[in-house]
Structures are given as C-alpha cells and as structure tokens.
C-alpha cells in the first residue's frame, strides 16, 4: 500500500446523546505515516470522535473505512485487532503492578491453558524499554512498579505499550496533560518516533503549542463539527492561533472552506 492512500476514513459520521448533537457530518481521514493534531475546546466533540474511532461508541449515522474496507460490527476489541491502539487520557495503567504486567495488560503472552509466560513478557518488556524506547532511567526496569514512576515515565509506558503491538494507528488523548516541561518534551519525542516508524498518529490536545511542531496536519473541531483542516506547510503557528481565536468567538473558521476536506 502506498503512503498516500488513506488508512482510516470517516464519512458523514453523526452521533447524538438524547437530543444533544455531539457530532454532525464528520468527514475525516488519516493517511499512512501521517500525524494529525486534533484540536478543539473542551466539549467540542474530540473525545466523542475518538471513542467512535476506537469502537467505544457506535455512530448513529455514517460509515467508516479501514485501509479501503468498510468496517462492519465494529467494537473496541475489533479496533485493537485491526491495528488501532489508544493511549487514553487516564493512561489505563494498573499502578500497583509491575511494568512487565502493565505492558501486556489484557494482551498477555500465554500458553494454551492461560498461564502467563512471565519470562518472555519480562524479556520483551526489557527489549521494548531499552532498545526501542531508549529509556535510560534506572527506575524503568521490567519489575518496577508503575505507580512509583514519574508522570512522564508512566506516559512513556502507555505509549510504548501502544507501539509494542505494532499498531498502524496510534491515538493519543491529551498525552501531555499534567506533565512537567521536561516530561512533555519526552512525550513529544515519542510521538515523533511514531512517524519515524512509518506509523500514523492522531494527537488530541487543546494545547496548540504542543501540537503544531510535530504534526503534519491540524484538524479543528468545534461544537460537533470539523471547522478546519490545515496542512502545516500552508499555515504558520501565528495564523493558526488567530484562526482558533476566531473559532472560539464565532464558531466559524475563516478560510475553512479552502481547507482540506476529504
């Protein structure tokens, strides 16, 4: 498959909760080896959109395609099977447990009777952490308890878990929230690593300064709609900030009509 074909495509997706319209006419796509920054205020619909992509919610209307094929009977389990891994906002870790248990949480390496291959899981964890993720901290060993790690390290664990399973699409929901500057830098480096690995990524944030430097394209969501989509090469950070202010004030985006819409 060429790098310009789309990996995931959403067509006319809509979702309501009772009489509250959460998403309307969502058309969205992400290509191979592309990093998208999904921006929007709290309550704009980012989380609903992500929950639809990860199979947690079912859309009321619209269709979804993965590598050109229509997705049927979609669920959270199916999403992982086809190659979508998500780093949830709460990081989805069991903090009283060791790193080697957390990396394989819910996807254990086990034999026919369900017994966990602990040796293999520890080896794989060690390999993942040192060779692939480049952790050097002595706090990050397979036996380390996740709750005793720093916020950045924990986020790194959540991200490396997503990468370990060789997902084609990694979704990161607010990965920099609550992190120190240094930790944020580390997380942003991880995301750049996804690109180097020729995988795709959706990076959700409300902090444009974190998003802009590392993404290929920026998609702005507001009040349940996609109000703009910009290739980074076409817009400067200053211009983007200005446009976001406009959205916040009017709910419309200047120049949105020229924006790239699939």
């Amino acid at each position: 498959m060429g790098t310009h074909e789309n990996l995931l495509k959403l067509v006319n997706i809509g979702k309501s909760f009772g009489n509250i319209v959460a998403l309307k006419d969502i058309n969205f796509e992400i290509g191979n080896n592309e990093i998208i920054g999904l921006l929007g205020d709290n309550g704009a619909g980012k989380s609903t959109l992500i929950k639809i992509i990860t199979g947690v919610y079912k859309p009321d209307v619209g269709e979804m395609f993965w590598k050109g094929e229509k997705l049927k009977g979609y669920s959270a389990t199916k999403a992982r099977e086809i190659g979508i891994q998500t780093v949830f906002q709460d990081r989805a870790l069991a903090e009283q447990h060791s790193l080697w248990r957390n990396i394989f949480m819910g996807h254990e390496i086990s034999g026919r009777f369900g017994f966990i291959n602990i040796k293999k899981q520890k080896e794989e964890t060690k390999k993942l952490m040192t060779e692939i993720m480049g952790f050097t901290s002595s706090a990050v060993t397979p036996d380390a308890i996740v709750g005793k790690m720093s916020g950045g390290e924990r986020q790194g664990v959540a991200i490396s878990r997503a990468l370990y399973f060789n997902a084609d699409l990694v979704i990161l929901d607010e990965p920099t929230t609550g992190l120190s500057l240094k930790e944020t830098k580390r997380v942003l480096e991880f995301i750049e690593g996804i690109k180097e690995r020729h995988k795709s990524c959706i990076f959700i944030s409300h902090n444009i300064y974190h998003v802009y430097p590392i993404v290929d394209r920026i998609v702005v969501v507001d009040r349940g709609k996609i109000v703009g989509s910009f290739n980074k090469c076409d817009i400067s950070l200053e211009e983007l900030v200005e446009k976001l202010y406009l959205v916040a004030e009017s709910g419309k985006m200047c120049g949105a009509s020229e924006a790239y819409m699939p």
Partner: protein
C-alpha cells in the same frame, strides 16, 4: 536473595509474625506444643480456614467483598447432607453441593455486575437471605451422616495418613492451585487489574463483568467445597453450619497482608494468616489463659499486623 526478600517482604513479615507467635506459645507451654496431638487437633479444622482464606484473597484483590460465604457453606452443607441421606451416595451429594454453592456465587456476581449493587450490601443481604431460607426449611433440625464414617469417601476427605488429618493435604493442594491461578494465570492478573483500576482494565479490553462474576462464582464454589469438610468432620449437618467463619476468614486475609483497597493480594500471606488464626485459640488456652482471652488476642494480633504492614511499606497510593 535480597531481591527475593524485597519483592516478598509482606509474605516474609507475616511468616516472621507467625514464628514469633508460635515461639511465644512454645515457651508458655512446651509440653502441649511438643505433642503432635496439638497439631493434629488444629490440622483437623485448619484446612477449612485455609481454603476459604485463599479464595477470599481473590475477592478482596478484585476490590469487591463477599460476606455471604458463611451462608453458602450452610446451604451447600445442607444440600450435601440432605442428598447423601436421601440417595445414600455421598458423591451425588457432593456434586450437587458444589453446583449449588457455585450457583449462589454466580447470583452474587450477577447482582453486583448486572444490577450494579454494592457487593458489601448485596452479599450481606444474601447472607441473611440464604441462612433464613435454611432455617425456615430445616426448622432448625440437623441431619446425621454417621453412616459415612470410615467409608472410602470419608477417608478420602477426612481420613488420616499416619497421624496427619488428610484434609490438611487438601487444604495445601487447594492453596497451591490458588497460588498458581493468582500469580501465574491470566485470571488472577485480571482480578488484580480490575481491583487496581476498573476503567483501565476496560480500556485494555478486559471483560470486567465476566471476571467479577467468575470471582464470585469461585468463592461460592470454594465455600461449598469447604462445606464438605465441615459436615464430614462431625458427620453431622447443623443449620448453623458456616456461621462464625465470616470475621475469622476476613481477619486471616487482612493479617496475611492483602490490603483492603484491592489491586494486590497475597496467597502465601493468606495461607500463613490462616495458620496464625488456626493456632491462636489453641495456643491461648494451652498457655494457661481462659477462653475469655481469645477475642482479646485476636484483636491485638490484627491491629499489630496492620501496623507492621504499614511499616513494611504497604500504603495505598
């Protein structure tokens, strides 16, 4: 070696406590504690405590509570005794008891997951409900199974190997099975992840409700397994069978080092906790104190254990 100690410091601290308590008893009355008969007496009933304690470690680690197991023991004991008397075949009685106990556990699990009831209150209610049911239908009368004594069935479960009550082997085998399930199997891992963080477990694709239902069913099954020993030891079913175990078992779980907040637990600790509880009453009386002191020392040891756990670094995040 240091690493082994570091990783299992809770277990080592509980074992240390057990050794100290046993030494104290030994010094207080060496004659009693040099006699194997003392151990034989304790080992006759200790396996019931062991079996129930290790099962409850799963429950507490999953972040839920089951207060209904004493009544499930009663219900299964009644089923076992009643059907054995009726058919003359203890194997049929035992099979039915295991099914009934597991079903009672399953109902607990469904109440907690599907109807979203608090496990503490739901199983408290079930405890009264089941016991009440037994009382109404037995009218307080017991069932004698004296004819089972010295049959093959009797000897398999509560016979002797040399001087050792055979149920002790059942207890230890069950503890080993539980250890493997808890520490080496996916089921034990999921139980702990759910107790640690239910939302995380869901997000990682663990079927939270199914695991919880299985955990309640496991405790129900275990209670019914224990009920077989309860009945066979006295060759008698009483409608109160299982009463009195609730607080003793929970004490063994907690003083064994399994914390109250869920997410982690220790089968080895639970096993040693059961030993401490099992020897306590015998030891106190052998030391020359009256039975009036039993509860006092129970309380003292529980409080001291919890304090020592705190110093061993067991703190809620």
């Amino acid at each position: 070696m240091k690493n082994l100690f570091q990783k299992n410091k809770m277990e080592f601290s509980v074992i240390g406590a057990f050794i100290i308590i046993m030494l104290a008893f030994f010094i207080a009355n060496p004659t009693v504690f040099l006699s194997f008969n003392t151990y034989k007496a304790v080992f006759t009933v200790l396996p019931i405590t062991i079996i129930l304690t290790v099962a409850l470690v799963f429950m507490i680690s999953s972040g839920e509570l089951d207060l209904s197991f004493p009544s499930i023991i009663g219900l299964s004991a009644w089923t076992f005794a009643g059907l054995t008397k009726l058919t003359g075949n203890p194997y049929i009685g035992m099979f039915a008891a295991l099914v009934v106990g597991s079903l009672a556990g399953l109902i607990n699990g469904l109440l907690v997951t599907k109807l979203k009831l608090s496990s503490l209150v739901a199983t408290l209610g079930m405890n009264f409900l089941i016991r009440g049911f037994i009382m109404i239908f037995t009218q307080g009368f017991g069932i004698s199974l004296l004819f089972l004594k010295d049959t093959l069935f009797y000897n398999i479960f509560v016979g002797h190997i040399g001087n050792l009550p055979i149920q002790m082997i059942w207890g230890i085998l069950f503890a080993i099975f539980a250890w493997l399930l808890f520490n080496r199997h996916k089921f034990g891992a999921y139980v702990c992840y759910i107790g640690d963080n239910t939302m995380s477990s869901k997000e990682m694709g663990i079927k939270v409700d199914n695991i919880k239902i299985l955990t309640f069913t496991l405790v129900g099954f275990t209670a019914s397994f224990a009920s077989i020993f309860v009945v066979l030891i006295n060759q008698m079913f009483w409608p109160t069978a299982g009463e009195g175990y609730l607080l003793v078992i929970l004490s063994a779980v907690f003083l064994g080092g399994t914390p109250t907040w869920g997410g982690i637990g220790t089968i080895v600790g639970g096993l040693v906790g059961a030993f401490i509880i099992g020897f306590l009453e015998t030891g106190i009386i052998a030391s020359g104190l009256t039975g009036f002191y039993t509860q006092f020392f129970f309380g003292l040891i529980i409080i001291f254990s919890l304090i020592s756990h705190r110093f061993a670094g067991l703190t809620k995040k």
